[in-house]
């Protein structure tokens, strides 16, 4: 299909080349050298363009260049990152020597935008650019960690402290209820699919709700820069996938000149940054026995002996790995000749988890190649192959017999020993949970992933003003997860070992053709782009499980040894296709007034017959105030640009097949003693299903004073999403609870502020700062006539996320606690079963009873504002970098606290503070209840105690580095730096759970903290060597 059209394409190209007659031009050669104005050193790699064309070259390793120009009356434009761009009219000369002025914050930088690059000063859209220098300095197993706290408007939230990391990114709030809310990731022009290829965590194995980051396949050390596209003008070119923002990742390319070898390595140790305070064995015994004396619990459950001579067992210590090791090694080669540049990197990373039996290992290689075949034609290829292995400890939201290691370690009876007198794992008759150590040793689950992805491009300039580009990309991911539950666990011994293998293969390929025209007519500068792109995704899965093995020795390596009656099988295949057409026009007048218009047409197979195609336009205007005559003379102002944009983008991240009727597995009855596979309709089809559209406008001011000594931007935006893809509840009597419909709308608005300052800048001492601040307000503005939708579940808590008009998405919905019932209170006000020492809930409607009608909004997951402050101080060859970040005004459900207030079993362990300070007649606390009748009023799990304020300020990273001076290195090495870094050093917060920033629910807009894998405090030391 697509092959036919590539062929068609190429024929067209050749045709045009053939008909292109020779032009009347001088075609003279100009040569010269470029030097650094401040040091007089020659500068390799300087970019040189013939102004108004796409023809150009770069300086070689000696700073020399040679270029054939159309005419000796043309102008050459010299640019290099970190230096002011210089325009030099050739004026008939054939030899030019140019010197460039360094400027730390240059507005002449090139920034990558969708399908091209643009000068930063010409941007009309909202684009934040983060280069490798700015990346976070700590442990980065995955690309998203590089960005944490760096970009105003982009919120990066950790979902787990597991090795391999897991993060959820939200750009400018959440614009959808049921469709995806993560941004689109594009690597070297290839939009990638971030979902896991295989499904499930294995039979019997508790997996965590938030998976590990799929982006860890990309080696952070390979990345040159990351651009975050935030507003409609920047993202509309991505049409139906741009509504949640776009993250553009550009990998490094080679440098002209002799080969440069760089080695980057570090070693670190990790420990949990915070653990919740549980009752010690002695406290446990005293408190529980007191509660029994007060009438609670059950007499037969009195605590008597404490094992290990009164020391008991610290279950968390039993499952933790102290000082878990992490190490990373990266080796890269970069070099090239005049026409060919290459970049090759090798990467090995090993990370042990802080919980035993969890780990992450990665091995990767990358080859980037660029070649300028001639003035007209160049091509390149970026390829990456990597393998990573994930080891999982059983963690997650499972309960009771299915609980994971973190849950059982927090809840297990601390007075019991790990092993009983026979040497077997201790089993408590009062607890319906596995022994935590048995879980760690008896359950294993590993996943291996092979991932190959890459892009190849060919660019042909028919004439200097007109360039064609063909871009092809592919991404192949193969995963296999093996899980085994052995006889060391109760579950394993009941079933004779449970083995399962889950495999998945996810592939996608992209074919894209674009044509760019760029020219200037006097004061008018025009660049136009048209193109077409198609991307096809396919996932294939298979699964097998068996139990009843004679021995645990073979685990998953010989499934035929299991009991045939227990064999389970499954397979699946699904995919989708996208076809799009894009167009963009950039116009500037007199380098003062800017205009950008984009348009995209998108078609997706996921949408109903009646609406397969969506249309997404955007417009933006910019005004360079500092170029105006009345401001040009004001020296203090080095940059002042006002910009405004408006546009529409779409969201198509929903499941497949929603517009057609199909049958899938239904109920399974037992007929004649055997199960019969039932099939039933999978959904109520909606043939009208279409895109979710987000209309966004953005107004911003970029400023710079005192030669960019102070620079930054402030912008305000408003996003309205309508035709939301909503699981609309339909009458249950249809046999379906919901149907995906386009109904409802949501609004996000806020302010993004960025400030960069060079506070002190001397020869020996510099101090620079970087500050970001973002505010966000989120509100559901229309729910299509439905009064409210309440969702959410975790452990024993249900139905607590409220979706309702006028309220932020998924606000926490529960009961307000006024205090504790005291002796002598007027109990006639209520008909509920309450005693002194019980929680006193607020009876909102004053009807004498506290029930579901008395629930109120308790908070939400959107921070009122987030901020970060980074400071870099350097003195001679020392450099200190301190980074602080924080969020204010957001809440999180502390679900482990729910288990403490509403105990599932009497003998489970609890958090210390409420129990040590509980209400008794002698200690009539107004804060903590007596715990004698914790469930008498039902389990009102989600309340003003358990939904806590998760605001925090954190000292995130401190890095101290020392670069060996040139005098020591001489010609031996190009550069050498040693450094030490501390990460997650100190946090100020009122939140009592594991960590206010980690959200194990995996959804940045619906935050739950339950059995969370702790966040690591890491100390590492490393070297960076350049040869």
């Amino acid at each position: 299909m697509q092959l036919k059209h590539i062929l068609c394409f190429s024929i067209v190209l050749l045709f045009l080349v053939g008909t292109n007659g020779a032009k009347a031009q001088d075609n003279s050669e100009v040569t010269g050298t470029v030097i650094d104005a401040s040091t007089s050193n020659t500068m390799p790699g300087v970019n040189i363009l013939v102004k108004g064309t796409t023809r150009g070259t770069s300086t070689d390793s000696n700073g020399k260049f040679s270029l054939t120009v159309p005419s000796l009356s043309d102008t050459l434009v010299f640019s290099f990152v970190g230096y002011s761009t210089k325009e030099v009219p050739i004026n008939g000369r054939t030899q030019l020597n140019v010197s460039l002025e360094p400027s730390t914050f240059s507005t002449e930088e090139l920034v990558v935008v969708g399908y091209g690059t643009q000068r930063k000063s010409d941007l009309t859209g909202s684009v934040s650019s983060v280069t490798s220098d700015d990346f976070n300095k700590g442990v980065n197993t995955s690309v998203d960690q590089l960005l944490q706290g760096k970009v105003a408007g982009a919120r990066v939230v950790e979902t787990t402290g597991e090795p391999g990391g897991g993060l959820a990114i939200n750009i400018r709030g959440a614009s959808s209820v049921n469709a995806g809310t993560g941004p689109l990731y594009v690597i070297d022009g290839l939009p990638i699919d971030n979902s896991s290829a295989q499904a499930g965590s294995g039979a019997g194995f508790v997996g965590s709700r938030a998976g590990r980051s799929e982006l860890s396949s990309i080696n952070p050390d390979d990345i040159q820069s990351i651009e975050i596209l935030k507003d409609a003008s920047a993202t509309a070119i991505y049409g139906s996938r741009g509504a949640n923002g776009v993250v553009l990742i550009t990998t490094k390319s080679g440098q002209k000149g002799s080969v440069q070898v760089d080695y980057n390595g570090y070693v670190g140790i990790q420990n949990p940054s915070h653990n919740m305070d549980l009752l010690s064995p002695q406290q446990y015994k005293t408190v529980l026995n007191n509660i029994i004396d007060d009438g609670g619990g059950n007499g037969s459950q009195r605590v008597d002996q404490i094992a290990n001579n009164g020391a008991g067992t610290d279950w968390r210590n039993q499952i933790y790995n102290d000082n878990a090791l992490i190490q990373n090694n990266n080796l890269s080669f970069s070099g090239g000749s005049e026409s060919t540049q290459y970049f090759v990197s090798l990467n090995v990373m090993n990370q042990d988890g802080m919980v035993k039996s969890s780990a992450y290992d990665k091995y990767g290689v990358r080859v980037n190649l660029d070649q300028d075949v001639s003035d007209k034609f160049d091509w390149g290829i970026n390829l990456s192959a990597n393998y990573h292995k994930d080891n999982y400890a059983p963690t997650g939201y499972g309960l009771n017999e299915n609980a994971g290691a973190l849950y059982t370690a927090m809840n297990w009876d601390p007075t019991k020993p790990v092993y009983d007198s026979n040497g077997d794992y201790y089993v408590s008759p009062d607890l319906t949970m596995e022994n935590p150590v048995a879980l760690i040793n008896g359950e294993e689950s590993t996943r291996s992933t092979y991932r190959y992805f890459g892009t190849a491009y060919g660019e042909y300039s028919i004439i200097p003003e007109l360039t064609f580009k063909l871009n092809i990309g592919g991404d192949v991911k193969e995963q296999r997860r093996d899980s085994y539950i052995s006889r060391l666990t109760k579950q394993g011994s009941a079933f004779g070992g449970i083995a399962s293998i889950s495999e998945g293969q996810a592939t996608n390929y992209l074919v894209e053709g674009t044509a760019t025209y760029s020219n200037n007519f006097g004061k008018h500068d025009v660049t136009a782009l048209v193109g077409a792109t198609t991307q096809e995704f396919l996932t294939i899965r298979d699964y097998q499980e068996a139990s009843g093995f004679a021995t645990d020795a073979t685990t998953t390596n010989n499934m035929s040894l299991g009991d045939q009656e227990t064999y389970g099988l499954n397979s699946a295949k699904f995919g989708y296709t996208l076809i799009s057409y894009i167009g963009r026009v950039n116009y500037s007048y007199n380098d003062k007034y800017l205009f950008t218009g984009t348009f995209r047409i998108d078609g997706s197979s996921k949408f109903g017959e009646n609406s397969k195609y969506g249309y997404f336009p955007s417009f933006a205007l910019g005004w360079k105030l500092d170029q105006e005559d009345f401001l040009k003379t004001v020296d203090a102002i080095s940059n002042l640009k006002l910009r405004a944009s408006w546009g529409e983008t779409g969201n198509q991240e929903i499941g497949n097949f929603l517009s057609i009727t199909t049958f899938g597995p239904g109920g399974t009855p037992i007929w004649n003693g055997s199960p019969v596979v039932g099939l039933n309709p999978s959904r109520l089809a909606n043939p009208d299903i279409k895109w979710e559209t987000t209309r966004q406008w953005n107004i911003g001011l970029d400023f710079g004073f005192l030669n960019q000594r102070i620079s930054g931007s402030v912008e305000y935006y408003q996003k309205d999403t309508y035709d939301m893809l909503l699981n609309l509840p339909i009458p249950n009597s249809t046999g379906f609870s919901s149907q995906i419909n386009n109904v409802g709308s949501i609004k996000n608005s806020g302010l993004d502020f960025t400030l960069n300052t060079r506070n002190i800048s001397n020869r020996d001492f510099t101090w620079t700062s970087s500050i970001t601040l973002s505010t966000l307000k989120n509100e559901v503005t229309d729910l299509g006539g439905i009064p409210e939708i309440i969702t959410g579940n975790a452990g024993f808590s249900n139905s607590f996320f409220l979706i309702k008009e006028g309220v932020p998405l998924r606000s926490f919905y529960g009961y307000q606690i006024a205090g504790i019932w005291q002796q002598g209170d007027d109990f006639s006000q209520t008909t509920d079963n309450v005693h002194p020492g019980d929680f006193k809930y607020v009876d909102q409607n004053e009807d004498g009873t506290v029930n579901a009608d008395d629930r109120v909004v308790l908070g939400n997951s959107f921070p009122d504002y987030t901020f970060s402050i980074g400071n870099t101080v350097s003195y001679k060859n020392f450099r200190l970098n301190v980074f602080i970040e924080g969020a204010q005004g957001l809440s999180m459900l502390n679900n482990n606290l729910v288990d403490t207030y509403f105990p599932v079993q009497f003998r489970r362990n609890k958090l210390a503070e409420p129990y040590l300070n509980r209400w008794t007649p002698n200690n009539p606390s107004d804060k903590y209840p007596s715990f004698v009748h914790p469930l008498a009023q039902g389990q009102k799990s989600v309340n003003s105690y358990t939904v806590e304020d998760a605001s925090y300020v954190r000292l995130k990273t401190v890095k101290l580095s020392y670069s060996l001076p040139k005098s020591v290195l001489k010609n031996f090495m190009r550069s050498a730096t040693v450094y030490v870094t501390g990460q997650n050093l100190y946090t100020i917060t009122d939140y009592t759970g594991i960590d206010p920033a980690v959200n194990s629910n995996g959804n940045a807009n619906a935050r739950i903290d339950y059995n969370t894998y702790p966040l690591a405090r890491t100390f590492m030391a490393g070297v960076q060597l350049g040869f």
């Binding site: 299909m1 059209h5 068609c8 394409f9 067209v12 045009l16 037969s300 309960l399 009771n400 319906t432 007109l466 109760k490 009941a494 079933f495 053709g513 044509a515 020219n519 136009a528 048209v530 077409a532 009656e565 227990t566 699904f574 296709t577 076809i579 057409y581 078609g603 497949n656 097949f657 517009s659 057609i660 049958f663 239904g666 109920g667 037992i670 007929w671 003693g673 019969v676 596979v677 039932g678 099939l679 039933n680 339909i730 009458p731 249950n732 009597s733 249809t734 046999g735 609870s737 439905i786 024993f796 008909t831 079963n833 579901a852 509403f902 599932v904 079993q905 469930l935 008498a936 389990q939």
Partner: protein
């Protein structure tokens, strides 16, 4: 001039690029590889059978611990403490439930899933390439399942939306009481001729006996006494069903499919959720039951949730009643101590009616759940005759048949001079016979005693409106055409 030529070339190229990508042969059509389209499924016998299987499974999904918990915790027989389940149980025990309880949602939705599947089958049966006789049986079974599902809904909520076709509009209002009753009755009657005789069916699927049995209970609970008596007689006259000789053994896995069982939910431990009532029945830490020698196996899960029998109910049994056998009044725990549930605990006796076996796995046990059994037919006819004519020899005789099976002596006509006296005895007899089978609530409601008994237990806030459960809040929210039951 040069610029114009360039522009022309650019325009030409753009046009070609756009054209090149537009001539595709519908590449945006979805390809559901792993799911089945209607035209592939419902034309084959296997496909129709699969859809029917789903209908059956959905209709009986609630027939296990759930049916019991909804139907007994609001009565004098049993109650619940402990575990996460307590959150759902407390409102049932205290008569403080509201439309947002999850259990009402499950009950409502699962039955409508069965109705949806049955409707889909009935609408598409003509596509199927099967023989006429097979078609007739499929139709009869679908009608049976659908009517049974509507009956379950009617018992709990009163009349609900009567959906007879998948093409009915989405927002249907509730049917009238008469419409719903007529529909249930006519569907069951229409199904009987084409259903197989008991003993010839695939075990687990409907038979003539099952349809007649459901009709008998339907007539009984809607107080249509003559029809009850007549239909019960039809079941008796089939000559197939009889009382199983041993009360406690008839629920065992090894005796599944015995002739007392007319309509059951077939359970198998390898297919969740199976019969899961034993998870809450087992007392904490038990290891051995001295009365029977039963020992707890490690593969039986014992939940934190506790299902407990009330002492008053236990003490109401007559001495020598075999139906007391399944009750566990004491056990030996892991430490070797004997725990006396009857004398040392309050309201803590356990009903080990569905004896677990070695094949049970975790939460799932294989004992079939009796929905309708022969003893119920006999007692229903006895009650109907009493309501029609007052105390009479046949009613007494039928009751005695059930009592004799459990080693109890006969009652005599002389001891029950009035209709209400005999009715009260039948209520007691039904309690002793059908405890832990999910029948108590409907019996108490039918005999007008639900609220009185609640008051006697100290639940003073119970009043008449609690005889119907509320339409679940999510159903109310998604369908503005629905009206809630009074009092909610």
């Amino acid at each position: 001039m040069k610029s114009f030529k360039n522009l022309l070339q650019f325009a030409l190229i753009s046009l070609i690029v756009l054209l090149a990508f537009s001539c595709k042969d519908n590449p945006l059509k979805e390809k559901p590889y792993s799911q089945i389209a209607p035209e592939n499924l419902l034309t084959k016998e296997g496909g129709v059978k699969a859809l029917l299987a789903s209908a059956y499974a959905n209709a009986s999904f609630m027939q296990r611990s759930r049916v019991n918990n909804l139907n007994e915790w609001t009565t004098d027989i049993s109650w619940q403490t402990g575990g996460g389940e307590n959150r759902q149980a407390v409102p049932m025990i205290n008569y403080s439930w509201d439309p947002t309880q999850g259990i009402f949602n499950n009950w409502y939705n699962n039955h409508y899933n069965a109705i949806r599947d049955a409707n889909t089958l009935l609408e598409n049966i003509d596509l199927a390439q099967v023989s006429d006789s097979k078609k007739k049986q499929f139709i009869a079974e679908a009608k049976f399942v659908r009517a049974f599902a509507y009956y379950q809904l009617y018992k709990k909520f009163g009349p609900t939306p009567l959906r007879k076709s998948t093409q009915d509009k989405l927002e249907l209002p509730r049917a009238s009481d008469q419409e719903m009753k007529d529909f249930i009755e006519s569907e069951l009657l229409a199904a009987i001729p084409d259903l197989p005789e008991p003993g010839t069916e695939v075990y687990g699927r409907a038979t003539k006996g099952a349809a007649r049995g459901v009709l008998t209970k339907f007539y009984l609970n809607t107080k249509q006494w003559q029809k009850t008596a007549d239909m019960a007689k039809q079941v008796m006259d089939m000559g197939y069903y009889k009382l199983y000789p041993s009360y406690k053994d008839m629920f065992n896995v090894e005796n599944e499919g015995n002739k007392e069982m007319i309509w059951v939910f077939t359970a198998d431990p390898t297919v969740p959720p199976a019969n899961n009532i034993m998870n809450g029945t087992q007392p904490p830490g038990w290891q051995k039951w001295p009365k029977t020698g039963l020992e707890k196996l490690p593969n039986w899960n014992n939940w934190a949730s506790q299902y407990r029998i009330r002492d008053a109910f236990y003490n109401s049994f007559e001495a020598g009643d075999d139906r007391l056998d399944p009750f566990m009044t004491e056990y030996i725990n892991a430490q070797g101590d004997t725990v006396d549930l009857k004398n040392d605990h309050t309201d803590d006796i356990r009903a080990f009616k569905y004896v677990p076996t070695e094949a049970a796995q975790g939460n799932f046990y294989g004992n079939d759940w009796p929905i309708i059994r022969y003893a119920d037919i006999l007692l229903s006819r006895a009650e109907a005759l009493n309501e029609l004519n007052g105390p009479n020899p046949e009613s007494i005789n039928l009751i005695n048949q059930v009592r004799n099976r459990s080693s109890l002596g006969n009652i005599t006509l002389a001891n029950y001079p009035t209709k209400s006296a005999l009715r009260d005895h039948i209520l007691d007899e039904r309690g002793w016979e059908f405890y832990y089978e999910g029948k108590r609530r409907e019996d108490l409601i039918r005999m007008g005693k639900l609220i009185d008994y609640a008051h006697q237990r100290g639940v003073t806030n119970a009043d008449q409106h609690y005889t119907l459960f509320p339409i679940p809040q999510s159903a109310m929210d998604s369908n503005p055409a629905l009206e809630q039951n009074p009092g909610y």
